[in-house]
């Protein structure tokens, strides 16, 4: 396969980048385009250029000041809902117990498929060094040509990704911790990737009892339950 073929396959490169940047692709099309981005620098570059234009479209709206009532509402809720970055367990408890019943149905179906994928693919412990006891787990990356590793050392975890496509317009990648018999728990780790598809992400929270570290694309700001199938799965146990 020539380099051009490898870059473009049978897709009209750039044809979907504008619609994707505007958030105007259907979900299945957006997923396919994200997979394509992992293989096509032409579309990655065009998307980056279009995204810069889309990011300034809000400036064209007539500008108003928010009402004092809105300001009071937002700030009162924030003051009534203290949050500490040092207490992720309390944050999760405040969200209430998560259960499989809290999954939206499409995500439930995808989650079932995910289980089958994970059982079939799994994760591999690549290395475990002596001093410092770094454990490196090769994660499964679904739907793209990217790669991801989870590095565990002294109770801390870092996710290292390469060649991962940009998240959909208006979305960001979110890291989840999954324990057996429990739905994935959200973390405060939200990230995007560089133009090369790279990111180093500190995974917060206590990994005790965690069987999987997952990454899904979520609306910017994160979600309480996954709204998309995982694109990265690191199997710890």
């Amino acid at each position: 396969m020539s380099e051009r073929d490898a870059m473009s396959e049978t897709r009209d490169c750039g044809g979907d980048a504008a619609a994707y940047a505007l958030g105007a692709l259907e979900p299945a099309e957006a997923e396919a385009f994200r997979a394509h981005l992992g293989r096509c620098i032409v579309c990655r570059d065009e998307l980056a250029a279009f995204q810069q234009v889309v990011d300034v479209l809000p400036m064209t709206a007539p500008q108003y000041s928010p009402s004092r009532r809105l300001r009071r509402r937002v700030l009162r809720t924030v003051r009534d809902e203290p949050r500490s970055a040092a207490a992720p367990a309390r944050r999760q408890a405040r969200r209430g117990g998560l259960s499989w019943g809290s999954f939206p149905r499409p995500a439930m179906a995808l989650a079932v498929l995910l289980v089958l994928v994970v059982v079939g693919v799994g994760g591999a412990v690549l290395s475990s060094t002596g001093a410092g006891h770094t454990r490196v787990i090769q994660a499964s990356v679904v739907g793209t040509a990217g790669s991801a590793q989870l590095r565990l050392r002294d109770g801390q975890a870092k996710l290292i990704v390469n060649h991962l496509p940009l998240p959909p317009a208006g979305h960001i990648y979110e890291v989840w911790l999954k324990r057996a018999d429990a739905a994935p728990a959200p973390t405060s780790a939200l990230f995007s990737v560089t133009s090369a598809g790279a990111a180093d992400v500190d995974v917060p929270g206590n990994l005790s009892g965690v069987s999987q570290v997952l990454v899904t694309p979520e609306p910017a700001g994160g979600s309480r339950v996954p709204t998309h199938a995982p694109v990265i799965v690191a199997q710890l146990a």
């Binding site: 750039g14 044809g15 300034v56 479209l57 064209t60 809902e81 203290p82 970055a85 609306p219 700001g221």
Partner: protein, 179 residues
Amino acid sequence: MQHVHDGDARAFEVIFDRHGGAAFSLAYRMCGRRAMAEDVVQEAFLSLWRSGARYDRARGGVRSWVLSVVHNRAVDAFRREVVRDSRDVRDDSIAERMPASDRTDAEVERRQEAQQVRSVLDELPPDQRQVIELAYFGGFSHSQIAEMLKLPAGTVKGRMRLGLTKMRLALGDPSGLAL
């Protein structure tokens, strides 16, 4: 932003005061209704607070990030509605005007740059501007737009591409604008 990430409500208040106007303006532009726009803005800022306000600087400034959350929440709100007509998303009529005031040189500069972007958008051929506005401010997919306008899906995507390309050329490097 680090203070917000660390749970500092006062830092979050600063973020809201700096970007709440732009957030509400976008939400109002999209929703067309003040109450709905306020709900969207509240939902967006609270999601930022609850997520720890962690964002990727490589994707732009804080305002760009805040507005992307607002945009996404507005689209989510549209999808929750049972029926939503293909309203004229350029409807500027409002019951109560609350114009933002020019308080600082930065805000004056921002207004001037906003006028520049608005002019570039207005100078697009109407068919290109229409599909961009329906997609971004209306939250419609290209296939919904194609159905509304009785056009082939490829035509809609093509107009989007041409329009954004023209805007990119006219604006130079939009990332330098004081968003």
